[in-house]
Symmetry: D2
Subunit: 347 residues, 4 copies
């Protein structure tokens, strides 16, 4: 157990109190299972409103589940999926996309975790050639796993490329709220309106307990989806408790409050360390993560007090994630510890 | 939304207050994700104690998940799995077992949902014959989907048959607590000690929110399991909240209190209707379900007030499930309504 | 090696000389691989003509391949396939249909290997219910694995049932030629014209070396099929040699000559043994197989001289298959041996 | 149909006459199907002898089949496979490896199609981390798809790396004979003795009709393989005809005669064009392929007379493959045509 808050991951944090309150609120009486209840119905409608009306949301348990189901809905096993080398679907899902969809994943090296048409185009070959997996889906992460954020125009450019080749664009939005507050745009402006076809919309990393969703912006992709969700073991029986989490998420813009705070804390952390000569920030700080190269010898001592993960051990790069519950005191204590270690005051 | 409690399913009920309390209790500070936290560690140890010590439990989201992962751990795609025609894995998981494990499911007709060595033996053929899926797993449900319960000796007989053929025995225990209170035995007596190799141990249907587990009684089956769970999208990031549910489940024997009550309510319902001449009880009432053939014309009017599901529409058979929160008043109101309909007082 | 011809299987026989001749004929020069050559083009056209013109044939290596690809083209993993318990896809393909398509196979007990609407209907449930695999394909074998043959009307009845439920009808025609000569009808009369949607059309069991095909009677099922065939490892690089086999098959109606002979030999065998009191013929002899219950003690001695396979060891039932190269002398020698064993003259 | 021999692929050529002769030779009488016959038994023994005795060969239909089955035997779906970006399993099998094995393929950019420990090491991360596909297999092609050849030492280095990480080494030897004659070594010297664990050993591209094999050098990898081959639709019923092809292949070293000739023709072609200033040879010519960048405007006119494939259209790179039946006249005619086009004599 971690005695104090660390910077390991936004899923190491707990759950917003508003979420617990809403769970308690729905905990009465009997309701139909598997999402047939009125609570879920209301929340689906709420999500639709937040994403521009014309869309089809489905609740699932995990971000990996949301991504894999998105891929499965848009492809079949003869297809390929183009993604960044750092994408969660490529690096962090233990091959679930290949296992469940049967597709080939084609990854692209990128410095900042972002794809662009030029990088993608390398893999858009072999159409109509039966020996070659048929490219069908482009998947980007917003924010990326490197904490960077696509502009609306960048997303539009990729969407246009996808559609030109009769492909779909998927966004892994496990931390979409963090992008929304940074872009200062409504969700729809950089998803539906930018040409995104399918979205993994996350909540767990931003203060929910276990609630994610797949949102389709094209109805034809949903035709078999209720079966796919069930077959993929992502259909909750007591769905009302998942719905309750999203209900709390949107009530009084909890999502915005949480994400803004996490981003702000990352910004504060960045400000406090950016000029330290012995360390090097490796990515723009646009969301709630800070990527930094540290002197090797201080990594373990620092981690012992404030837990965080390595990102690239070969170059001593680590990742510091801020969360909705990170405090200014956390940052100050952490930066002090860091400086003390760098100055050799402690070890 | 159902205005009042019905008899549709034990997953239409809510969550025990003790469970919510425990969720609130763990909701503080940062802890390692994905089950690396101390809460989860403690609960894993707790489950081990309840199942005789030598076993390996893993938490998952759903009963379908627990079943499919159990199959995947014990087989590979060249194998077959023998089960009852009424098994959840055969009827109610949208083909997830075949999709995820690649196995062939071989089902057996049975009157009461129970398998026995004679029924199973029909499918234990073709060993070492490369054209034939190799039988590797027998899967039974305890209690069955028909609300009947295997004796310890019946389970031992099936386990012996399985082991004689170098196969494994899996138990789908989505409602295992209901069997335990009826048998009046500790869990291990009719699982581990009876020769069961893998168990799906459920909690959601007995007052938890969303918490199930796979428990292995053979260590060699667990070697790749942590990867399988992740790949199957059944690994929770904020695992402490799932652990909290099981913690509450075992504290003060909540599982026993809930299951005893549900069974007792089913027994009460059975007593009150068993002598009504116009209806026919079709299965022994050993757990928390009552299966009954009704006059066709009263099914809809009855359902309109107290929701329940059809079981076999061809013969007007329906299923009434009692839950941890079913009250004597619910039963009385329901039986009164039933009798009034049968007597033509109302329609 | 078997010294003389036996009655084990029609794939224990060799290859018609006309087939070898055609292979030699195409063995010159370079041609495009993977079926892009003119030989294959010609043969595809030939097959189309034999099946009523409007159809889409694809060549594959094996009968299992043809069946699995048929299923994969018509379904996705959320679907179920209804078949007889004796179907090759259920019994003899080591679970390839489940592995490759992800579907659930729902089998039906039948005495003579034939399905009918009443038997099938049991499995046509759960439509639109996300917990249940969605029925999408009915698969029958013509002739059946028991050597029985569907009439045109029987096929039409099943096709109508399938289409009424928005399902497809697949025919496993590994021995379709044997059915055609018995029915004395052109292929199309009991496939395309009877409402069949997909056909596995075999050649290997009737004198070819290794050449089977999938024939679609609905174009919409072919849209991704060239990729599916490649991905399923069923695309031959030197396709001309497979095409040559089918070319020989149709030239001078070799298929008819071979199948007629095999059926005739089975009829002769049947005539010669049907009145022997110690044995019992268990199935109508409509194609090239004879199913018979023998006194247990003569099975091994008889098999030692003329190889054949057990069918149902529990009741001492064996299968005798005749082939295109079975001779009257083979039959006579075999029957003599059988009678001698039954009469105790030898042992 | 191609009127004359071209340079498209070694599978555009026909079949050696010795192969046809052997097929005719085995075409008599009945033999047990599916490889239980004496012909196949003899050929399996023959292959073992050619590969150093202690190995386990299985015959299959296609090179894709051999590769996919090799992967399936050595991995399960939680694993990853490291290969070159140009590998057949990555580029030319329509995703069959992912579909059938469920694994993730991790590809590496390489100039000459060859992997080495440094290139591979990038992907050997995340061991024991459940979020990451577990690296289990390295797959190299010998010769590579670029016509280059690994030395024995290079293979040993990769094998050592694999074994150090508890991984296996697979070789895609679709053209292994072309490597053997170039290396002037017995097969075992650069497979079994160099630490290779599994080999796809091809014949079709070197004068056979349709015969490939998977050869295991570790018995533990074969335990379920007969079922895997059947389930993967790669088990021939009339196996004797596939065995006959390999029998011919080894008799009088037909494999060596064919491969030597093809390599020699590629060498001749190389010699005749290497000094032409307007074109650029892009790869070492070590086997039977020549890779060359041509002026764009002559590609189509040249191809119209002698068929060949593009390799990299972005840089006008094409591939010329020589075959066992390529003649010096073919080369001379081709080079003349090429020069005439370059000199503007024709267009």
């Amino acid at each position: 157990m971690i005695a104090k808050r660390g910077f390991a991951s936004d899923n190491n944090s707990g759950v917003s109190e508003e979420v617990i309150a809403k769970i308690i609120e729905v905990n009465k009486g009997h309701v139909v299972g598997y999402g047939g209840d009125d609570y879920t119905g209301k929340v689906i409608e709420l999500i639709r409103q937040k994403f521009g009306g014309e869309c089809w949301p489905y609740l699932v348990f995990t971000g990996t589940g949301a991504n894999v189901l998105s891929i499965s809905a848009a492809t079949n096993s003869i297809n390929s999926v183009v993604c960044a080398e750092t994408a969660h679907i490529q690096e962090d899902e233990c091959g679930a996309p290949e296992k469940f969809s049967g597709c080939k994943l084609l990854s692209v090296e990128t410095e900042d975790g972002k794809l662009n048409p030029e990088l993608i185009t390398k893999h858009l070959v072999g159409f109509d050639f039966e020996h070659h997996s048929q490219p069908k889906l482009i998947s980007i992460s917003q924010p990326t796993e490197m904490g960077t954020i696509y502009t609306v125009q960048e997303i539009k450019n990729i969407a246009n490329l996808a559609h030109k080749h009769n492909m779909f664009l998927h966004v892994d939005g496990a931390r979409l709220a963090n992008a929304a507050v940074e872009l200062n745009l409504p969700f729809e402006a950089f998803t539906k309106d930018a040409g995104v076809d399918i979205l993994s919309f996350g909540g767990t990393k931003n203060g929910l307990m276990s609630a994610e969703s797949v949102i389709f912006f094209r109805k034809e992709l949903t035709l078999s989806f209720k079966y796919i969700r069930k077959q993929a073991m992502q259909l909750a029986s007591k769905m009302r408790y998942m719905a309750a989490q999203f209900d709390a998420y949107f009530e009084n813009d909890l999502w915005k409050k949480n994400a803004s705070h996490a981003n702000k804390m990352a910004g504060l952390l960045y400000e406090k360390v950016k000029d330290i000569p012995q360390i090097k920030i490796t990515q723009k700080v646009e969301a709630n993560g800070v990527f930094v190269i540290l002197p090797k010898e201080i990594i373990e001592p620092l981690r012992n007090e404030y837990f965080f993960y390595d990102w690239n051990t070969a170059r001593n790069e680590v990742r510091w994630m801020c969360s909705f519950d990170t405090t200014e005191e956390d940052i100050e204590g952490f930066v002090k510890k860091l400086k003390d270690l760098l100055n050799g005051k402690i070890k």
